[in-house]
Subunit: 419 residues, 3 copies
């Protein structure tokens, strides 16, 4: 995963354009069933209109004697996203009106965009701005903003039922590592995981698009099927650092998606942070919007907007690690397994079964019972069809990971059925 | 409001009688639609019987040489409410059997009544009692207790629907300011407020009567219409001091009345005190009684029975202030406005609307979002028809006051409808 | 109760056998309606098979020169429950493979059984084991394990309705006092209490059997009637010491049985301990098992497995006391009374009734109200048919004991009916 992120890092992505397309091509190499959508500029998607396509080739600020002060070639964050082209000599004062910095983090270049109002701009560190002392500068942005299309992609992997589990992330950010190449590379690893599963109860939908407008466009094409089939969806964002785990609640924090994330994180990393939906900020905004109301929550390591490097040039490849990505991947596969096994189970016998005759219980009785036997008899007591596996796991304090072999063993002994 | 209270203060009111009638006349001066009820002595009202009417002209205790020790002319609290008449010279010992004091508050005269058993009595401070050292006294109470009637009043102001909001208070207390002239004068100001509203979704019912028997009598005449139409009612009592705000829960604390009071007070005065229904003591006793079960809770500044001056001569005009009355008035008008706007709203578009094109969202995206935009997008997310406006206000942490212009703006942009 | 326990203490009881039968005979002396069941060895009861019957006459370990080291005559705990017979001279090493001790409690003999695997064994204190220094020993266990039957007993006392309240306990433990002669002797006292009640709304079922297999066998014969009629059941276990009170929740802690236990203990002994169903260990395991799911919880003084003497020879007659047994008996009779009176009550009048004219309310009104009047008017307010008596008791903070005479008084004044 880390190497794939390294390969994608230098490409300048945005809401639209060839950087996005090239990144999507690399990210989905070898996937037979990737489907892409190109939605033309001007298309109405719900309340929004698909904007023009933006492409950029370069840009810089030079002194009049030809010394480059700022260059897109150094980092694509230097050009404001969706900047219109310019090639002019202008005064320092005029230039400064088009310069964006993050004054409270003077060494870092902020990530700034202007998707829906046409303007041009340079982003730089506050220190670089302070060093602009010449009277005039030559400014060049070699971009174009014209009719084109918005690119979306998805991979749908069929299971035994039409009920769906969705993982979604976004690919519209330029050179930032945690936000957001971490989501796409974990997303890709999960596709490979699901393809390798020997059998799948659920259909899996993996969606990737530019944030906000991309999700809106995707929903405008797929809302009916999602309303009908989606049982749990997860927005992967900022899943590459190694500091903590975070969970962003769905609107009412009461969906199966919320329940499984809380269950898995409570055993995997009990100190995980929960953020209310009021702290949302990624595509759960659209998936949980009024009328859409899908069962979708967010999974992060350190959440977007909660770490200092967020949306700056400091969110670089040193911020993420294989260990960080791997942790998010493991949480996600635990979620998949918990959902695959989640059901209302019922014992086939009345009273406790006689475990001793099946070699599942000690044959002498003295004070004390070991934990494995406790997990088994507690599961058996609650396998009454009332709560599903996740609820039983919460109630008896045993991770689903440990309940899965118990389910298998009891099923094999014909003591357990699904309700 | 304070001046009206000053004018009413000296009048000797009781459950029945001309003091009550005169106070009601002054309180409702200029109101075209005031309706009064006179319910004759002996009328059965639910489990109760309307008592005789009591009127009093004066009363005193004199030494045998004609020195007045206690005089009704000083304060009408000196005569026990519903005292029978007497004019006799009696021994000190006999007199003391008819003297009521509050020994733990030796400077203050307690407020004492005996509505349902005929007896006579004087109330005085413990110090005044200690000074009764003569062997004999001349005691005079010039009152009468005979067939008459119980007086109730209400003002009903029609709205677009028959659904009703009620404010009720009581006028049966003699010269005490907070308990209870504060309720009546705020009640009157609210009538003027509602009459001045440009339009009213709800019908407003303003009820005033003597406490307990008055509410029972009122309910016995109006229970059917209240059961059918009342959506929220509020007992105003002790709303004139300036110490805190209090809320007395309805029986199960789960009515719309409770919800709107908690919502408004939580933003207006977060330190407000909540009293369980077990701490009730005013007419919510009747409105929430078994079988009646109307959605009514109580609003106070410092609650009755919770301040030292309660039911004594120290509850005088110095205890209340315009500022104190004004605070209760403002809370009440906020309650009215919240109820008028309370509804289940739904967005008309899927996904978030594009606020930028309507000038409601910043056009460049960089870290950080201002509070007004947050209130707007949070409201939009929850405008899905599930929770009403009060619930959304609670969930997103934004006062209804601030949501009302947002509702208006989104409605105007045709983005919002009522469910 | 204590004397009955003393009489039963020396008898060697087990899952099956004559010790159990003799104990049951003594325990139910004088009861006309005791019903016993003998279920033959080999009978299938749900998932279990009734084991062979075990009887024991004696057993010891002797040195080769005839000195008795361990003797069943001293305490029947010395022979492992369900031990097969033996009469042999064996080496110390071989003997030690059949010796059970509780090394962390070196002075006490542990209680050990091997019901479902045939083996022989001696139980002794760790100190006794350390003293086994001879090379060879003569070991004798004079027991037999053969076709026979499992003994159950119940007493069903008819009431006005078929709805049932059940008390159950178990009699399969040898010489231990708290666990478990305390349960049986309190159980017997409750039978006498119920028989002496002047009238009974409910039918009472008193069940006694060996633990686990006995409950399973009992359920296999009575599940239909219990599923149909049981409204609340209680497992009495470890109810003889005098340290605390404990309550073991039913599976979801939401049955009438749970509600009444919590209510009674919260007033009787507010410091009582609550144990989740995850800490269960007695016959609630079977009564709450998946599919059975009866409304049954557990009542203890200090709970089994939570006191040091549990399942050892130190659980002797000095551990229990009449005071301890009496406390559990009183809690149980309070539970019975609360259930007998539990109903949804409704006032027959609207508004508060006029209590004064019935002598139930003070005739002068001044600050302050006494507790008895408060309990009365609070009960009246909540007697609206919504919550049952137990819920009202919880809400208004008044024990059911005190509400029962209020219910009687209001009923007598025709102010109250059952819904």
């Amino acid at each position: 995963m880390y190497q794939l992120a390294e390969r994608l890092f230098p490409i300048c992505r945005s809401l639209t354009g060839n950087g996005f397309r090239e990144s999507l091509r690399i990210l989905t190499e070898g996937l037979a069933d990737i489907r892409t959508y190109e939605i033309p500029t001007g298309t109405q998607v719900f309340d929004w209109t698909v904007p023009k396509e933006w492409n950029i080739r370069g840009g810089y600020i030079e002194t009049l004697d030809g010394k480059r002060v700022i260059d897109f070639a150094d980092t694509n964050l230097h050009i404001m996203g969706y900047s219109t082209p310019i090639d002019a000599v202008i005064s320092r004062d005029e230039l400064l009106e088009h310069v964006y910095t993050q004054p409270d983090q003077p060494d870092w270049i902020p990530y700034v965009t202007s998707y829906y109002k046409e303007r041009w701009g340079f982003c730089m560190s506050e220190k670089q701005k302070q060093a602009l002392t010449e009277a005039q500068y030559h400014v060049v942005i070699d971009s174009d903003l014209k009719e084109g299309s918005l690119t979306l992609g998805d991979v749908v992997i069929k299971g035994e039922t039409d009920e769906e589990i969705m993982f979604t992330t976004y690919l519209c950010h330029p050179s930032m590592a945690n936000n957001e190449l971490s989501g796409p590379v974990v997303w890709r690893a999960l596709i490979d995981y699901v393809l390798a599963m020997p059998k799948r109860r659920y259909t899996y939908r993996f969606v990737i698009n530019p944030e906000t407008i991309g999700s809106i466009a995707y929903l405008s094409k797929n809302l009916d099927v999602l309303k009908k089939n989606l049982i749990a969806g997860f927005v992967l964002s900022c899943v590459g650092d190694n500091r903590t785990y975070s969970y962003v609640e769905s609107k009412y924090a009461n969906t199966l998606a919320d329940r499984v994330v809380r269950n898995v994180l409570s055993y995997h990393y009990p100190e995980y942070k929960t953020y209310s939906f009021l702290k949302r900020g990624s595509d759960e905004r659209q998936y949980c919007s009024a009328g859409v109301d899908l069962p979708v929550c967010g999974i992060c390591r350190t959440k977007y907007a909660e770490y200092p490097e967020y949306h700056t040039s400091a969110d670089d490849m040193s911020l993420i690690s294989l260990e960080g990505l791997q942790g998010a991947y493991e949480v996600s596969t635990k979620i998949i397994n918990a959902l695959e096994y989640n059901a209302h189970y019922m014992m086939t016998c009345m009273g406790e079964p006689q475990l001793g005759k099946r070699g599942l219980y000690p044959t002498t009785s003295q004070k004390g019972l070991v934990d494995e036997v406790l997990a088994l008899i507690d599961f058996i007591a609650y396998a009454d069809g009332q709560g599903d596996l996740i609820e039983i796991s919460n109630t008896i304090g045993v991770p689903v990971d440990i309940l899965i072999p118990i389910v298998d063993k009891l099923t094999e002994h014909q003591l357990l059925i699904k309700k």
